[in-house]
Amino acid sequence: MTPGTAGVILPKLTGFRISGFEPIFRGSIAAALKPGPLVILGGNGLGKTTLMQAVIYALTGGASWEIEEDKQYRWDHTYFKKRLDSANLASIEVDFELSAERLTVRRGCMSSTLRALRIGEEWIQDPMIAATAFADNLRRLGGYPNPSDFSFLVHRLLYLPESRRLLAWDLDAQVRLLMLLSNDIGAEEQFRTRRAELKNLDSRKRHVHVALEKAKGQLSRLMEFDETASGEPVEDEPIDGKEASESLGVRLEKLVDVLTRSRQDRRDLESQELALSRKISLLSSDIEQLRQDVEREEAGFIASSLKQRESTDNLALSKLLELAICPACGSRSLELQARAQAFANTHHCTLCGSDEPTTEPPKLATLRSRLAEKLRAQRETEAQLSPIRQRAVAFRAADMDQVASINQLRFAQPVVALKTQDLPQPTKEALVVLEESLRREEAELAAQQLALRDELEREYAEFRESASERSEKLRVLYMEYASAFLGLTCDLVEVKDGDRLLLLSRFVPQFNERLRDSPDTCSEAQRFFLDIAFRMALIDLASTLTDSNSSFVCETPENALDMSYVDNVVEMFSVFAKKKHSLLLTANIQPDGFASKLLKTHVPKRERPRRIVNLLDLGQLSDVHQDALDDMKAAVADILEA
């Protein structure tokens, strides 16, 4: 697969080596990753998280501001440096494949920069050249526009950290990831830059608004002072030559206001349109399946009715079956008759032996009634959708007219530049000029903001539309994982979501006929494991598009899991592992825990020692660990031997 033709190619981890991590670990650690699980087994404080984080650190250099808006989730080499005896001796190497090319990255703990890079067998030891070569290879082999995109993808998709930074309900992360994974049909970086521009416009508008309110306040105080001084109310007199211009500013402000409100109505309408279209799509896929089943049963009914008629009227094929008369030449052939009878008795075509459809009348009746019900539901939904569509079209036409009117006013306005010498003087005239200028600037910024918002929303909707086939695949994949965990059907639904600046869409789970549109609509375990299901589905989708495999690195949230769900989680991870992806997981050492079941289910006994990193041998054991060491060793032995 050529990078860029169907989204970015995900990295597939193949191994790692860690050294110089004393006192956290008692020596060097090395492991190879193959398709299926590799489990880091340990107890509290033995370094499971550190080891996992070191692997991610080597790949990306940590989570910087470029990929993480929220400061509390940023981290880098200092996370390790503070905890090591000799940070300058620490080294982490991670091997991975990208588009069939083998790469190795090496980082130390004194700074986050790449220390060396291996491409195939060739090492690049110069850090500057290595960093450039890394960026080039990410672009060339993986289709990543820049290294920060690779880091983002690793941190927000391939790695579920202990901090449980969820992807499942995060709009911004989903938008960036979906666009990155489909960068063949949408320019993610450009979209993100323009979103930032929209925020900037909003911020400028708010500053202007504050200045405007301040000028209004000053003016009103000045007017009050004039009134008090003269004892008579002051008429609102237009200042020479300003009347027409002021009227333009106010009109522009009003028009923008009208457009803002009508956009909100339009968005509500479009949300309804989207929801109904989605319902129709779901009904259509159910209908397709039912049509297939009904057709098979109906064909069976027709075949059976045809046989009866042929028998009643003693037609050619009936004569063959009963009298051994060949329907082609009219001669009598017992051999042909015997063969025809054998075929007919086993529901095959009397002549050629092809499978012949059969039917069970009650089943056909049930299927037809279900199909008719779905068709009626589809028709009713379409009846609801049709007027909404017509109104949306009318709204869009009105929107275009309003935008045209706004633009006409904007370009008809005189350009008034505020110079330093024009800064407000505490005079009425100067404040009136300033107020008018700020009013116009605010309206202009609002108009620009509206235009950009509309452009971005339309662009994203077009992107989602182009990726609709991929969304359907994602839904199917997600349902497989999420339903395996929950033990009931869990769907993935795209809902409109955004903030006051922009309305986009994101995927949320739906089960028990309830849309789970925020994390607090799920239990703690559901949150974590549905997030894992979503990530696995996305990894699967990206892998399918690029015909490659990848890895998932996961701090298993075992403490959120009661024993009744362990088997379901094992099933979910097994589905992922069977697709030839590799899994790097952490787990506590405990008898019949999640790790034990996963390894016993998925890995043959002789292979198991190579599928665990046992921190009892490598980590610093506390007194508590020492006391329970025999039990813990027995639990590990059970995993290996069972």
């Binding site: 129709i280 799509s281 259509s284 209908i287 397709e288 049509r291 297939q292 009904v294 057709e295 098979r296 109906e298 064909a299 069976g300 009914f301 027709i302 075949a303 009715s305 045809l306 009866q308 008629r309 042929e310 009643t312 009227d313 037609l315 050619a316 094929l317 329907p327 075509c349 092809s354 499978d355 012949e356 459809p357 037809r368 199909l371 008719a372 068709l375 009626r376 589809q378 028709r379 379409e382 009846a383 049709s386 007027p387």
Partner: protein, 221 residues
């Protein structure tokens, strides 16, 4: 779809179509059978039943479903239909008319005992009625050429599947649903259905006429 499933479904459809045509003393030829069944399939969704999936495709002479001709041949071989007026044309093609034998007619009655087949029979009769009264059987081809799904798919070349029952793209179903949404809601659905079918055939006739006017004149030597 399983070929034998398609074949049996089309055997049913051909028997119903030939039976409906025979009520007007008409025997359908190969091309008319294709066009007739295309129109029946296009309106069946109004009866809350679905036409066979992945059936018609764009081809040289309008929509074509190979299973229909195979079904006619099977019925003839099995003694349920007979071929009349076989003649070879100047362009090398063969024309033939198909009629049901007595056994075929009896089988058509057998099939109509089934509720869904009886409903499909209703749709078949409606198309036959319009072809026999007013339109004329040879005009079926022009109507099919004006059908929205085919008109939309034709520029994309041969081999495109046609789904006139799919409301999510340009199709008969989308057209009729839109018209239906503009009609006042009525409890008696069949009134709407008949009205819609009338409007639909009027539309096809007008569209066919406008296509005919747009087509370049062919000089006859």
């Amino acid at each position: 779809m399983d070929p034998s499933v398609r074949s049996f479904l089309r055997m049913r459809d051909v028997v119903l179509a030939s039976s409906a045509a025979s009520r007007y003393q008409h025997a359908l030829n190969r091309i008319q059978l294709q066009k007739f069944l295309y129109l029946v399939d296009a309106i069946t969704f109004l009866f809350d039943i679905a036409p066979p999936r992945e059936a018609h495709r764009t081809y040289k002479h309008g929509p074509f479903d190979a299973a229909i001709q195979n079904a006619v041949d099977c019925l003839t071989f099995r003694g349920l239909a007979s071929v009349k007026g076989v003649s070879r044309q100047a362009d090398g093609t063969t024309t033939a008319f198909y009629e049901l034998t007595n056994a075929g007619k009896a089988w058509a009655k057998d099939l109509r005992i089934d509720v869904a087949t009886a409903t499909r029979w209703q749709a078949t009769q409606l198309v036959a009625e319009r072809a026999a009264h007013g339109l004329g059987w040879p005009r079926l081809r022009d109507l099919v050429y004006a059908e929205p799904t085919y008109v939309a798919a034709r520029p994309n070349g041969w081999g495109q599947y046609l789904h006139p029952e799919d409301t999510r793209s340009t199709s008969t179903a989308l057209l009729l649903r839109t018209v239906e949404s503009l009609l006042p809601s009525r409890a008696g659905q069949p009134i709407h259905r008949d009205l819609l079918i009338d409007l639909y055939f009027d539309f096809l006739e007008s569209a066919a006429e406008s296509l005919r006017l747009q087509a370049p004149e062919v000089e006859i030597r």
